[in-house]
Each structure stands twice: as C-alpha cells, then as structure tokens.
Amino acid sequence: MTDAPLAPGRPPIGMTLAALLRADFTVLARTPQVLVTNLAVPIIFIVATSFGKRDFAEPGTLIGLALSYGTMSAGMLGYSTLVAQDRASGVFQRLRVTPTPSWAIMASRIVVQLVSAVVMTVLGVVVGSIAHGVVYEWHQYLAVLGVSLLGAAMFLCTGQAIVGLLRSPASVNAVGRVLFILLIISGILGSIGVLGDWFTVFSQWTPVGALTSLYAVAFGAAWSDATTAGAIMVPVYAVVCAFVGIRFFRWESR
C-alpha cells in the first residue's frame, strides 16, 4: 500500500470500461457451456442441414434460423442467467460499491454479448456458404451482420425483461428455458411450414420468425409481408422488453 493516493478522484470512464470488458470477456471465455450453446450448436445445425435432401427451406432461411438460435441463446439465456446469478451471489453489490457507474456494469456485459453475436454470425455465414455451396456478396454479409446485431439486441432486451421481472436465478433459468423452447419451436415449425399457413403467418410475428424473415432478405430473398412483419416486430419487441427490463430491474435479489 505505497503507490496510490489516499484521496483519489473518480477514475476515467475509459479505464473503468476497459477493466469491466476485460473481466467480462474472460468470464465468457471461461464458460464452456456458453461457447457450446452460442457457437457450436448453430454451426452444427448449419452443417447438418446441408446434407441429404435440402428442398424444405432455402439455405438463407436455414442459416438465419441457426443464427437466430445463437443470438437467442446468448441474449435470452446466457445473459439473463449470468445477471441473475451475479445479482444473487453479491457480485453486483461488490462492483457497485466501487466508483463505477451502474450503466457501465451493464454496458460491458451487453457489449460482450454483441461481440459474441458478431463472431457467431461471421462463423455461421462462412461455414454456411461452404456447407450449402452458396456464394454471398459483401453487402449481404454486412446485411446479415446488421440483422444479427438487431436480433442480439432484441434477445438481450428479452433477457433483461426476464431478470427485471424475476428475482431468483432458478426462476430466471426456468422461465428463460421454457420461453426459449417455445420461441425456437414456433420459429422452426413456422419457417418450414409443416403446421399450415395459419401457423406460418403467426410464426412470422414471433421473435424468432420475425428475425428469420429479416435474415432471409439479408441473404437475398425478395421483400415480402413476412419481412415487413419482421421489420416491425423486432424493434417493437426490443423496445417493449427494454422498457420492462429497465423499469422493473433491481440490483438486489431480495
């Protein structure tokens, strides 16, 4: 205890964010189940759907579904579970007694999830184009990246809403998983069209269906009613969930 001042001023925000980001990226890298669910599963899905008969959906739709799964897994399950655990165990409390703005604690975690979505998207599109034998233009890569960031934002907001409304990590985990399964099933079944036209239209208005429609256009499909539904619903879901998540969020689990 010899080289620091006794009455320090507030540290620069850049230094604070750098410290938080370094720690949060390390936490992500040291959580293997997150890497598996966020990265490996979408890639396996993309590769698996490239084998055999492939006429049930366009490659863009399949890659879009995989990317939707990845962004949803990271944002809705990974983010919400980690926040709930850190809140219950007192990690947030420890961070909040330092001269760190509360928004910086959350911003760092959100940035880490967005970067993870970008990595997952780049990998997914590269692997998808090889496995499905399709070639994409650079502007399509950019469009897909934009849709991924939009999707990641929507699912992070959904995750925030879940940790805003529920206190215990067990409840957050349980509700997150049930919602995850419902959304992914409705998205997949709607995209494939096996449950009829009514369900396909319904699915286009769900988070996964809306996002998959946007991915399809980013991959080169023509703009359709489904795309319009997606373009409306993704921001709507994001804004509503962000409002709920911020309004009802508590830093303590008690």
Binding site: A7, P11, A19, A23, S89
Partner: protein, 261 residues
C-alpha cells in the same frame, strides 16, 4: 470531531439519516461524524440499523432523509465521487467465480483508476499472504483467505475511509491479528475506519470512538473508556456488571438483554 456540524477534518459526516423499508423505519435520524485517522465502531444488536447506515454511505441504498458527506463529497447526490474515497468490505463479499485472484485484482484496480503491472498485482496478493493462491478462484479459498482477499480489494485504492461490516466474523485469532495490523497501517497513513462488530472486546480494544445504536437511533457515543466512565454508576449497568465494568455491560444496559433476530 464533535457529532453535529461537519468540521474540515471530518472524513465522514452523517446527519439526520433516515432509512425506511416500506413502513418500517430502519434508521431514524442518525447523526455522527468520523475524523481523519480515527477508528470508529458502530455497535448495535441485530436489526439496529448498522448495515442500513453502511448501505447508504456505500451508495447501495437511498435514504428517506438526511445527508452523508464523505471527505466533503455528497454521497447521495454525487455517489461516484464519494465512492472513489471509500474502501468497502461487505459482510458477505462475492467476486466473479470464473476469475482468478490476479484477474480480480486487475479488475478492481481498473475500477479505482489504478494502473498496476503484473508484478504490482502479484506483490499485492503476496502482501495479503495469498501468494500461493494467486491462480486460484475466490470460491476455492478458505474463509480466512476470502476475508483477507476482500480486505485486499477494499484497501487497494488506499481509501480515505474504510467501511468494514463485521470484518472479523469467522476469522481465527491469527487472521484477526493480521487484519488489525493492516487496518492500523491504513490508519497510520491518515485513513479512517468505520466498522461494525458484535464483539465488544474488539470494539473496546481497537476503536477510538464508538456509537451505540438501536432501532435506528443513536443511544450513546464517545470513546469506550468515556462511555464506561459515564455509565459506570447507571443502575442498569451496576446490575449487569460482574466485577470491572466493561463496554459489553454498557451496551446491554442501553440496548436491553432480549435476543434479536
């Protein structure tokens, strides 16, 4: 260091603090101040309002009324400036379970604006007697080691005011001695310490001044010796004392002998 209007030397000044949880009043108009280099004990039975008071100073809780100044910085209106002057050891600290001790020190150094080299980080961990554990994660440390690491993080910025919430709870005598040596070291550099404890012997031995609170109200304040002298003849104390009057006799006489949860 009089308890009232803040003086220039006050590191902490709490005035008319009120904390409510719904209709329950946890802290009811509490006022006290702490000067530079002073070790101040906040004593009270369970539920007396100690942790609520600390929570407001730490910026974790908003009060219903009152002011809190840390080195002249308003801890309620400008909490970050106040927090930059604080070192905090919470009653139950928790750190990210995925990070090792070195990574945690690097993180918290960054949050206090300290640039520490790898050697600097290792030296700090070594100083805390955790050199062999530096690659470990917080959860895998023993209780005493966890307390030492929490204290290391709390003292990292060489704070002007340390807040210690029951710092010796669960520590063996050796760890307790080491903790007090580190606290004395901080005091020697001009820092002040506000601590809560249930150990009256400890408070009597280490605190320059104490405040006894109950139901969120200040019952008595002064040096342990002054309080003992003041209440020595009090009939409640006389009834309790077995031989030499102790701080514990005064404490129980003022707060009652019923058990609190």
């Amino acid at each position: 260091m009089a308890d009232g209007a803040p003086s220039r030397d006050d590191v902490l000044s709490v005035d008319g603090l009120v904390v409510r949880y719904g209709s329950r009043v946890a802290v009811d108009g509490l006022s006290f101040s702490i000067g530079r280099g002073e070790i101040f004990g906040l004593l009270g039975p369970n539920g007396a309002g100690k942790t609520s008071t600390l929570s407001v100073i730490e910026g974790l809780q908003s009060p219903a009324a009152g002011t809190v100044l840390v080195d002249g910085q308003d801890a309620i209106r400008a909490p970050l400036a106040a927090k930059a002057r604080l070192g905090v050891q919470l009653q139950a600290s928790s750190f990210q379970p995925e990070l090792g001790l070195e990574q945690l020190v690097r993180l918290y150094a960054g949050l206090y604006g300290l640039r520490l080299s790898g050697d600097g980080i290792r030296d700090r961990i070594e100083d805390a007697g955790l050199g062999d554990e530096r690659a470990k994660r917080f959860k895998s440390l023993s209780g005493g080691q966890q307390q030492r690491f929490s204290l290391l993080i709390a003292t990292l910025p060489r704070p002007l005011l340390m807040l210690l919430d029951e710092p010796t709870q669960g520590l063996d005598p050796q760890s307790r001695r080491q903790l007090w040596a580190r606290i004395e070291g901080l005091r020697g550099e001009g820092g002040a310490i506000l601590l809560t404890t249930h150990s009256m012997e400890e408070a009597q031995a280490v605190c320059d001044r104490i405040a006894i609170i109950d139901h969120g109200r200040l019952l008595a304040t002064g040096s342990p010796a002054a309080l003992i002298a003041e209440y020595r003849e009090d009939p409640r104390v006389v009834r309790l004392a077995r031989g030499e009057v102790t701080l514990e006799d005064v404490f129980i006489a003022l707060t009652g002998s019923s058990i609190r949860d």
